[in-house]
Subunit: 152 residues, 4 copies
């Protein structure tokens, strides 16, 4: 028997943005004694959202680090908590690139609960840093090349 | 486009045990500065393994809590770290029930990396506690009923 | 031998705000493979900052929940990551109340590394919710009473 | 006002072991919806215990990595959960070295709640690995030198 619990669905796209969806299940480890997901754990949901968006483009965050020697530290995080997420909820993480990355990349996240209510909105901004020099660089060419067609 | 990243595969069974497999991807949040998964994060992998095994039986850990008023605190954990798990690795968690649960339930876990090497072995033992009385109880009937056919 | 590793220091106050300082040591569990504190872990530093500020007032967050039946879910989080925090760094968390809480409470955090550089700025906003009714309430009287003298 | 919340107390020693105590406060982030500390979070308490034991010897785990190019991956973890730890509990972590480390180092942990009940027992075993070669090495001389006097 093969049950499918986690899956990435429906990478939609239009001329002004790139959007990707991914689902996660809330684990006991992520709840707190209020019975909800601890507010600090959404940062990991955003991480999952952005990494899987990158994978949906045929790219790999891991390769940015290993092959291109670029890593992407977070410089800004904003989060609005609208409704609680509960244990065992399957959450749908919608991750959106509204702009082509240049010096910075900005991911927008909308998280929905199983009843399809929007429970959380987040924005995460990251820089591109050269691992060797430690200096800021622009978004890797291969990323912008792949993304361009979604923004034309 | 629908890419499948997380999925539970192949719940094998024989006359002496019940086995279930589930895959997770290692996230940045789970690594430490050694570049490996932090040793404390395997507990969450075990949690995922046992919850998904229960789900594969058509049962729900959440329902144990909500409907049966039983919760399952961990009383014992043992873990052997054989090889490191790295960022973005898709790990295969094999979770095994070797015995029908009675006063206690014991899950055995084998975790494999993408190269199919066994990287971690774990055993987690949990009690069944009545939420109202706070006292130990036996495994819920509906759990043992479903499991019995796999142990005959 | 008694070595002091964690301590809350110097609750300063003036007529327009209330400020409290607390120190934490960065643990391996909190680093990621970049060698820095994972961006999601600052939420816990903010939690420590605000809980210890409340304690410095002679109050107790735990008592809000247990005795007053009020809990404080986070509704907004903003974070700027200016410099990385590294393993074993002793971080100084400065937590500031700029306004008397009414319907909401807003904590401002400034985190400094051992070289006294500001490495992170955060703002966390929380509501007061009655545990029984699930409805928004105002800041508990005993909190505002204690705080008022710092804002006059 | 300076309130002391975290402190390392009383590094006792006798001719057959080395013992060190350290206190931590349970944070909301560490609880789960059972209202107790999530079982996976004890690994971090053990980490804190062993790092602070090393510090109490005048040594530094960080220096092992940075200066001696040795890191200490965990190879084995055993944990018994006797009683729950609750939010805001100040836990006393007793960390014990029963033997001089050679190829491996084994830390034993006893965790007590504020009512002084033993709530958790753990054993963590770690190897010494040369960062450059990736090979097992023996405990660093400066560690065994400092420890020897406690074991004579």
């Amino acid at each position: 028997m093969l049950t499918q619990r986690y899956f990435a669905a429906v990478s939609k796209t239009n001329s002004t943005m790139y959007k990707h969806e991914y689902k996660v299940i809330v684990r006991y480890a992520e709840t707190d004694q209020m019975g909800f997901v601890y507010y600090g754990n959404y940062a990991k949901f955003y991480e999952i959202g952005r990494v899987e968006l990158i994978r949906s483009l045929g790219l790999s965050y891991k390769e940015f680090e290993d092959r291109l020697n670029i890593f992407l530290p977070v410089v800004q995080l904003e989060s609005r908590y609208l409704l609680p997420a509960r244990y065992d909820d399957e959450l749908r993480i919608e991750t959106i690139l509204d702009e082509l990355p240049e010096k910075m990349i900005s991911f927008r996240h909308l998280i929905y609960n199983p009843q399809n209510f929007l429970i959380n909105k987040g924005v995460v901004k990251l820089l591109f840093i050269d691992k060797i020099t430690g200096r800021k660089v622009s978004a890797p060419q291969e990323m912008t090349d792949v993304l361009k067609k979604h923004f034309e």
